[in-house]
Amino acid sequence: MQLPVRENIDKTVRLLVRSTGFLAIAILGGILFMLLWNTMAFFLQIKPLDFITGTQWNPSGDPALYGILPLLVSTSLVTLGAMVIAIPLGIGTAAFLSEYAGSKLKGILKPAIEMLAAVPSVAIGFLGIVLLGPGIAGLTGQSNGLNALNGAVLLAIMALPTIVTVAEDALHGIPDSYKEASYGVGANRWQTLIRVTIPAAAPGILAAVMLGVGRAIGETMTVLMATGNASAFPKGFFHSVRTITATIAIEMGEVPYQTTHYYSLFAIATVLFLFTLIVNMLGEYFVNKYRKYHSA
């Protein structure tokens, strides 16, 4: 082929490829626009203050009530529970993988954690119904064990692979010179891990936790299946709760388009979106801080 022709092809491809680069901005912009547009439509009909401070979510009642608090408290409760379980387990496993496990053991454990990450959320939710639910019911004497605790345990399992992988990277990235200095002044392996390696990797570990939280807040199927979805105000870990994600999943299939109820689901989705956005940005901030710290 002649050179001018080849150069023209090169220019065309450059343009084409570049235009797909903007696709990411367009999609994120589209999602934001959709959320905000429908949320505005909602706030034209319901006062924002009633939405934020309302303690009842009952869109099909008379009068219809659109208070986000019970959903927000449910989501927070389940996420908090998940983190109480997942953070110590995740950091412990990451520390074991990075500091103690030999390459052979690592070769088994790492694929195992990737496998855990690959299990679809609906399968984990199913086990919440058939395995964990009856277990909790047996301990507490409830009828089915579908409550916040159940959801929290399942979300912990779902968030663990993320936390372990990111935290292990952070621990692994600590230069050997740090540890050698610690050994040099007489510290043993454990003291070095607790007093030197983990504090040095703290921003990276925080990033891992944030990404885990982001994963847990936005998860739909497991909480939809395992938490019982009672619409009453959440009372505690042994009671049924109904998260933001579960509410959208349950009600969006049933509402007529363009009604107040329909718009309300976009409004709670906007709140969910903002929360995950903040959490993920915090995670990113910690990752960057960690990088700067260690390149300095």
Binding site: D10, G21, L23, I31, L89, A123, G214, T220, F273
Partner: protein, 280 residues
């Protein structure tokens, strides 16, 4: 005495946490395999549901999931790979390109149910596709896009600059260098990322809830503009929505097992590609 015990306790703590994580995986797999395998048969995976789904198989759900994943791939792979090529091969460190990167990172963190809402608003309603296989596939395509972009860019980044410079030095245009030199060497890495992203999409339920998945379809082959059955949704439906939940529990277990097998097979494919490549 206490001094001697301390390292054991310290060690034990880490071992215990790691053991717990492994226990979760083993418990999940053990429960699904031991209770799902007995009612798993050739008939189960090759026939359509009968008698209100209390009998028969899950063939439409399997074919539905396969078709759905193919549409997802057709929608997400070209755009995802192209976007990654732009970011790694063409993009300079400008404000606009940083915005593109920030958008991709944020998209990866958007909850799947919000993709479902977006698919409903964009494909089902605005573009009037209705609840259909196409709308659901495109929705999952959007969900997979950030993962495909990230993993592809990672694969491209591993190709040394000297490879490109060699091609440019003997007179190739930038496009020719990418097409003939960079892409072939990055292909295994790209494929691994694509297959992993698709395995994730195949197991997703929330994004397809409002965009086209159905309780029951009586034909094993789907069509683009119609609703469809999918394995993850079928499992959700059998375990929470069915009128005789206890009666269909064995079927739910087998569906869960089939779903896990499909997802793990895709994962194994990805690991195999990665393993084969790393040996070269």
């Amino acid at each position: 005495m206490i001094k001697k015990l301390t390292p054991v306790i310290e060690w034990g703590t880490l071992l215990l946490t790691t053991g717990t994580v492994c226990f979760f995986l083993v418990a999940i797999l053990w429960d699904l395999v031991s209770k799902g395998a007995p009612s798993l048969s050739w008939e189960f995976v090759s026939s359509i549901p009968r008698e209100g789904m209390t009998k028969g198989g899950i063939l439409p759900a399997i074919t539905g999931t396969i078709l759905l994943t193919l549409i997802t791939a057709a929608a997400a792979v070209p755009f995802g790979v192209s976007c990654a090529v732009y970011l790694n091969e063409y993009a300079t460190d400008s404000a606009l390109n940083r915005l593109i990167r920030a958008s991709i990172r944020n998209l990866a963190g958007v909850p799947s149910i919000i993709y479902g809402l977006f698919g409903l608003a964009l494909f089902v309603q605005a573009l009037q596709m209705g609840t259909s296989l196409l709308a659901a596939g495109l929705t999952l395509g959007l969900l997979s896009l950030p993962y495909i972009i990230t993993t592809t860019e990672e694969a491209l980044r591993r190709i040394p600059a000297s490879t490109r410079e060699g091609a440019l030095a003997i007179g190739a245009t930038q496009f020719e260098s990418i097409r003939d030199v960079v892409m072939p060497s990055a292909l295994p890495g790209i494929l691994t990322g694509v297959v992993l992203s698709l395995s994730r999409a195949a197991g997703e339920t929330a994004p397809i809830l409002f965009t086209g998945v159905a309780f029951y379809i009586n034909s094993p082959t789907g069509s683009l503009n119609q609703e469809f059955m999918a394995l993850p949704y079928h499992l959700y439906m059998l375990s929470t929505q069915h009128h005789a939940i206890e009666e269909v529990r064995p079927l739910a277990y087998s569906t869960a097992l089939v779903l896990i097998i499909v997802v793990f097979l895709l994962n194994l494919t990805a690991f195999y590609i990665r393993y084969k490549h790393s040996k070269k």
